[in-house]
Symmetry: C2
Subunit: 391 residues, 2 copies
């Protein structure tokens, strides 16, 4: 199948794979799709290493990088000299301690730091691979994203995506100079218009059913409205897409391609933590929730004791804003993840990860390459059926 | 376009129009689609009158009837001898009085009763056309629905639909005997399986973006799962469908047709109250909310001062269950609607109606027949584009 975006980016299928896992990015790109690495997981140095690893494996085939630049962030994060962690209130720390005690988590091994936690994100939420709490928090500021963008543009990337808020003018200018198109994720028509005005070359219209940070409007309703609002700027559909039938539906709505995150989380390549992967394979589409408990902004994720406690417990102080909640949650989730891998049942109850409603469709572990081929094949069948029905 | 359901029901396009308005039902049926009258709006005698009116206008073309049979209802409603209205607590009555005072509504004209309020429902919510409060409340019980079913089956209907919960065994038996297929609306895969086990011949899989009573799962995610779960039972897609592109997307997902409600609310024929119609034409897709404030169950509707006050005001006692909240809300909404038509600004703020997220697409008043033809034409274009893209 060939849409204009295929021609423009030099790909066979307009199937974009968002992943924090370099293996998924390379596998999808090599299968004829377009892998996009979620860069927020990395420090600039680590990102450089990851992209070099990908460069060595894709033989010049195109891939992209996604950064997280929220338009509204906690004021304390803007003061890069302040120790971010100090801005977390006592009662929020106490609530985390209460959860650890309530769910019977053993003391974390000494020296535990912010390590890889639950693998690749469904899309733009952060999963810090390393670095101090401060570094992690700052990476989601405009200044922090700039360091990642600088690194990304030194590699032969085919796309740079901004996951929250309009792309910063500097990012657009840098990308333009490097000849790299800029994509932007949106959840409303108004945001889509704003992104195009800010210089986005490609809009990813993401429905509420998506994993990670989402709005309220469903993919079915959002995509045609965004397509009409920003034409002739091409639109990719995101949210609720993990099969060829869903891909065909997205293209029927007027999208030029699809942007998928969740479907890669249960692939062989995904670095998703085993306990969380098992939860995903067992989950139905009713087992996700949009919660502010992991990042400070509404993000769809597996419903777990963590989301239930933060969102509904009487003692909950309520989540902080971004990036403080993200910082606190990721630090706690690193320890929860480690405990879950040690088989501690309370930790397994708490553990979760960003994923969309399509989690109900994910019931086996397969290579990413096989997922691409199956989606493309089912897409062709769906289009053929439609064509037959329409006479 | 011809799907199996077209053959079975004898229609040209698998486009089902749910409406409380007989004019819409007749117009869509006459245009080659399939109109379905929401019967809960009527007493058995009135339903008989409405169906006779339709019979006289559709020249034997097929149409259907939808009843509302909730599986869980307030226990007080089961005692058909109790005066339902007496079961509404004092503080809920007081809160309604507080709202009337806060929004400056003038006293209702004497003798005002439960009259037509805001026109046809997006789907299954009730809009009592007449009758005492008790009668209205009881119509949403199994016993109440039976009276409507008896009347409906005396007309040459082509389908009978059950909007909430599995169709009662008696309804299935009666329909079978009359040779009328039974359709059932569902929001989860589990409910779809249960409906088929209870005897449903056709499943309407309705996503969270739909108007009226909805679940959490989006149409994009729900439809393929339901199609796979109940095959070979045919599935219609509902929620987020008001254009030919969305219709094509629904069929790409595996549906045999589409079930639309919201799109008819702004047609020329619709009996939607003028003040509410104006709100719908101006609304964006962000202007709906799933709220229990009109029926006692989560139902998507226009966000208005009514939903905001019930759902978020400090003084709100919180909505009652079904049918008590429905009873109280419809009585209040009848008076609010009348005041809105008199131009009282507070009443206009409170007024709302059931509608899906597609309300953001509805920006002009057109004949229902024209809506059908435009959807069918855009459907053909979307399929043609897809076919071209897939090479």
């Amino acid at each position: 199948m060939r849409t204009a975006i295929c021609e423009r980016l030099g790909i066979e299928f307009p199937l974009f794979a968002f992943s924090h896992c370099r293996d998924v990015v390379a596998a999808v790109t090599n299968a004829g799709g377009f892998g996009v690495l979620g860069a927020i997981a990395y420090s600039p140095e680590q990102l450089d290493t990851e992209l070099t690893w990908i460069d060595e494996r894709v033989g010049g085939r195109p891939y992209g990088v996604d950064v997280l630049v929220p338009s509204k962030i906690d004021a304390s994060a803007l003061d890069v000299d302040a120790r971010l962690a100090d801005a977390i209130p006592e009662r929020h720390r106490d609530f985390v301690a209460h959860l650890f005690s309530k769910y019977g988590l053993t003391a974390p091994p000494s020296g535990v730091s912010l390590g890889p936690v639950a693998g690749p994100a469904a899309r733009s939420a952060a999963s810090p691979a390393a670095g101090s709490a401060d570094e992690v928090g700052r990476r989601v500021t405009a200044a922090g994203a700039t360091g990642l963008i600088d690194v990304a543009l030194k590699h032969p990337i085919g796309l740079i995506a901004s996951a929250l808020g309009p792309p910063p003018a500097e990012m657009v200018a840098q990308a333009r100079e490097a000849g790299v198109p800029v994509a932007a994720l949106v959840g409303t028509v108004e945001h889509a218009r704003r992104q195009v005005a800010a210089g986005a070359d490609l809009i990813v219209a993401q429905g509420t059913e998506a994993g990670g940070h989402t709005g309220d409007i469903s993919t079915m309703v959002l995509v045609p409205q965004v397509v009409d609002a920003v034409a002739p700027v091409p639109v990719l559909a995101a949210g609720g897409i993990a099969s060829g039938r869903q891909m065909a539906a997205a293209l029927a709505l007027g999208a030029e391609g699809v942007w998928c995150g969740s479907v890669w989380l249960t692939t062989e390549e995904a670095e998703t933590a085993p306990a969380v992967k098992r939860k995903m394979l067992a989950a139905s589409s009713l087992d996700t929730v949009r919660s502010r408990s992991r990042t400070g902004k509404p993000a769809r994720q597996l419903r777990s004791a963590w989301t239930e406690e933060w969102d509904a417990a009487q003692e909950s102080p309520g989540p902080l804003g971004m990036p403080l909640q993200l910082l606190m949650a990721e630090e706690a989730m690193a320890r929860i993840g480690a405990a879950a891998e040690r088989g501690e049942p309370g930790a397994v109850e708490l553990a979760n990860y960003f994923v969309g409603q399509v989690v109900g469709q994910l019931d086996q572990v397969r290579p990413a390459r096989e997922v691409v081929y199956e989606m493309v094949s089912e897409f062709a069948d769906a289009v053929e059926r439609l064509h037959r029905l329409s006479g």
